[in-house]
């Protein structure tokens, strides 16, 4: 009987260890790629983008469906046209493979007192329901320091789509009385996928 209990316990521990390992693997992204060219994503704000080939790694290239305006994005969120992204792309890529808890600090010096900084972290991994279905995504959190306010942006980056399925921003200002006042900036969700 004692032997059975001991064996059972050992088996249980082994099983839990395996499960823990599986969870850890699940919370880490595979190598990041780009959506197949000509894939079109449509969003709830009535905008659409189309995947294009030709972006230098680690970026992926997209164009407006009607306008043709191009943008190269890292993780479907960070534009190559952004000076702070350009200046910190080596720092940003240390987020790969995506894993909950990873965080980086971006800094770009400006002239005089001016400067730009932001913190980017992999906040969590969650299953999110959007109009096209249910997706397992990493939540990328972008925050910017500010005197009395707080600006947070979140992208639900889904490795299976190689793009973000959801975006939201939270804007808060602390009033002199200590009351938190919020505004509701733009947010969107993925509403359509057209494959080539």
């Amino acid at each position: 009987m004692i032997s059975f209990a001991t064996d059972f316990r050992a088996l249980w521990i082994a099983l839990m260890t395996m499960l823990a390992g599986a969870t850890s693997v699940a919370a880490q992204s595979a190598p990041i790629g780009c959506p197949p060219p000509r894939t079109i994503y449509t969003f709830t704000d009535s905008s659409s983008i189309q995947a294009l080939p030709g972006a230098p790694a680690p970026f992926c290239r997209f164009a407006n469906v009607n306008g043709g305006q191009q943008v190269d994005l890292f993780l479907g969120a960070f534009s190559a046209a952004s000076p702070i992204v350009q200046a910190n792309i080596d720092v940003l890529t240390t987020l790969l493979p995506l894993q909950v808890g990873k965080a980086v600090h971006l800094v770009r010096a400006g002239t005089g007192d001016k400067g730009w900084q932001a913190n980017v972290s992999v906040e969590k991994h969650e299953s999110v329901e959007v109009p096209v279905g249910r997706l397992n995504c990493f939540v990328l959190l972008w925050t910017e320091p500010s005197g009395q306010g707080r600006w947070e942006r979140r992208w639900w980056y889904c490795p299976s789509l190689e793009y973000a399925a959801k975006y939201s921003a939270k804007f808060e200002v602390v009033s002199p009385g200590g009351r938190i006042l919020s505004s509701s900036p733009t947010s969107w969700e993925l509403a359509g996928i057209r494959v080539p």
Binding site: D45, A77, S82, G112, D113, S160, V173
Partner: protein
Amino acid sequence: MAYLRASAILASCALLTACASIFEGTSQQIAVRTTPAGARCTFWRNGGLVADIPSTPGTVTVQKTKVDLFIVCDKPGYASATYVNRSGLAVATYANVLTLGLAWAVDSSRGADNKYEGEIELSLAPNGMTVPIEPAPPPPASGPAPAAAVPRPRVGAPPQPPAAATPAPAPVLSQVECASSDGSRVRMTGTACPAGWSRTR
């Protein structure tokens, strides 16, 4: 003595254009341009709306205070972009700090940061272009189309006056339901799931 000191400041400022801003008063004009134009920009302070540009480019006048001024610009089809005016920076030791205005620029929601050099210039990052969201196609018919769906002219029937022109129906695009190895399940418009996805039905 005070009069002499003020006169000295005035005299020196007459030689230094940077000093001119000292005398601009307690309000300040802020000009906003966006690319593309036509964005709505709102100015927030202490959580309250203090100014509004309905469509850029435009200019507003705001009171100078030591409180952060947040500027949020939105245009349909583009990610919102923000600026934060941080007050109380070290540069406040300079005499013309009151006109430096927005000293702290932050990124648009797609990470495109912007600079402020006396006036605001924002490049709005596109989510995409504004196009109608494609409606979901009807479910596939299990049998022949209902006969009454479209009236058809009978053979031998007298000629009918031409019907009013109607737009050609949009081609019906098929949808596939796809699953990925990480457990995601989505509907896609197309005939097959892309690489990395398997068709569920």
